[in-house]
Symmetry: C2
Subunit: 287 residues, 2 copies
């Protein structure tokens, strides 16, 4: 039986662990310092408590943590990995730039531990996403992870170096979230000058797919705007000096922060955005 | 019979003029200094040659010119309008920001001529767009243009001030063209690090509408990137200091200029973008 270790039993980690344990794997994670809620979620996913040092005994360690902890968690694990006689495979699945990923890889590889760049795209497995997200892996050891498909995961091996899976995840998020932010900003701008109803009608006729997408995506984004800001900043580092995507995503990060500040303040911008999609506005629009 | 004047017999102007003359209107425009091609196009659209001073005898003057000439053409017409005993309705239909629109309005209104803010959204009427584009009008005199629907145009009157139609057009272009530029930039970034095939597969599964849209929009955009740059710069001025859309669209303008420069140079970026959509890449992508 495979033993798989998770850095933490977060929403994604616990949901993935549940699939793995349902398929016969043994799943371990440090639980003792977690909240009662997290411990309950971990218990439901059949995750077994283990101290960080013991994670090295697993076949594979998955790092699935908030992106800003990807590097520090690797640094925390490094002494344990260094000391381990038999090295597990360390897979970083976090939403970090290829640049940050290379830093994490350097920390792990210095301990003699094989490293894989991973990217999880999609919602956690569960009611909203019965098929689960797709797991993309790149780097010289990526092909070892093909067997995870026997444990219920949707696995894709990229024939590309470390950094490629991270770049894939960043590019995908840059497209998906970038569209939501860019369109939201324009809808707010149009609303401020009395062009909301006309823009709604125009989009109904000539951009129905984008309108439909935004009707769900804009209200979903608002409460997450603050968290998205850090992700946009990370995407801004994807640039290698050839295209102004650094400035583009820095500006999108700033839009996130402005929307988050508005939400904590008088909510004028988020009210304009919400009003754009309201049925009243639809029925009252110019004809 | 209505007489309608056009600033110039451009692609949009001539196609609209053809619809109007088919519906019984008399259409005039200055033709004498035009190229043989333009004169032939004007002739086919039943446009009658008239000097600029004579345009004031029309019921309505449509300014449909390259955006950078919207203000200078208004300034050129101002003395004629000033001198006219009976003032026509002057409609600016150009892709300009509300700010520039207000400058044009000030020039025209100073001559005692009633002014309407107009926006044309969609391709010129013709084989590719049999229903024709939509004509949006705002400002205190906009309702006078409702009768244009009897002459074959799709007219929408906005109950909003001058500037609203321009803001509508800018916002719409900001959404439509902004999506194309943002996604193109991310596709190029992903391609540069070997993640193109994976991103294509991921989008095929989870973003099929955006992928389909981009397959047409990206190659259509490349030859126009230089012209789009000026439009992105204009959209950047929509900002009123509340959202970082100024920096967002300045960055998109820069992406346009970089893509245009690449096209004139070694075409490395545009080749990467083209390769992303190529059937070969599709069949060879990771599985």
């Amino acid at each position: 039986m495979k033993t798989l270790a998770f850095a933490a039993p977060g929403a994604m980690g616990a949901a993935v662990a549940a699939v793995l344990s349902q398929h016969g794997a043994r799943v371990i994670s440090p639980l003792s310092q977690r909240s009662a809620d997290s411990q309950q979620r971990a218990h439901a996913a059949h995750i077994i408590d283990a101290p960080e040092a013991a994670l090295c005994d697993a076949d594979i360690i998955f790092s699935i943590v908030p992106p800003e902890f990807a590097l520090s968690w690797a640094q925390q694990m490094a002494p344990h990995l260094q000391a381990a006689a038999r090295k597990p495979l360390y897979v970083d699945c976090n939403a970090i730039s290829p640049e940050t990923l290379q830093q994490v890889a350097a920390v792990i590889e210095a301990t003699g531990t094989p490293f894989v760049d991973g990217a999880i795209i999609g919602l956690p497995p569960g009611e909203q996403n019965p098929d689960g997200p797709r797991f993309w892996f790149s780097g010289p050891h990526a092909s070892q992870l093909a067997e995870l498909s026997d444990l219920g995961l949707r696995v894709r091996i990229m024939s590309a170096e470390n950094g490629a899976a991270s770049a894939l995840k960043m590019s995908y998020a840059g497209i998906n979230k970038g569209i939501t932010l860019l369109v939201s900003a324009m809808l707010i701008n149009a609303s401020r000058v009395g062009a909301a109803e006309a823009l709604h009608e125009e989009m109904t006729e000539s951009q129905p797919q984008i309108l439909k997408r935004m009707k769900k995506a804009a209200p979903d984004m608002l409460p997450k705007a603050w968290r998205w800001a850090a992700e946009m900043d990370e995407i801004a580092t994807l640039n290698q000096g050839e295209l102004a995507t650094d400035r583009l995503y820095q500006a999108l990060g700033e839009v996130c922060r402005q929307l988050a500040a508005d939400r904590r303040g008088d909510q004028r911008l988020s009210d304009l955005l919400a009003a754009f999609f309201q049925p009243d506005a639809e029925s009252a629009r110019a004809d």
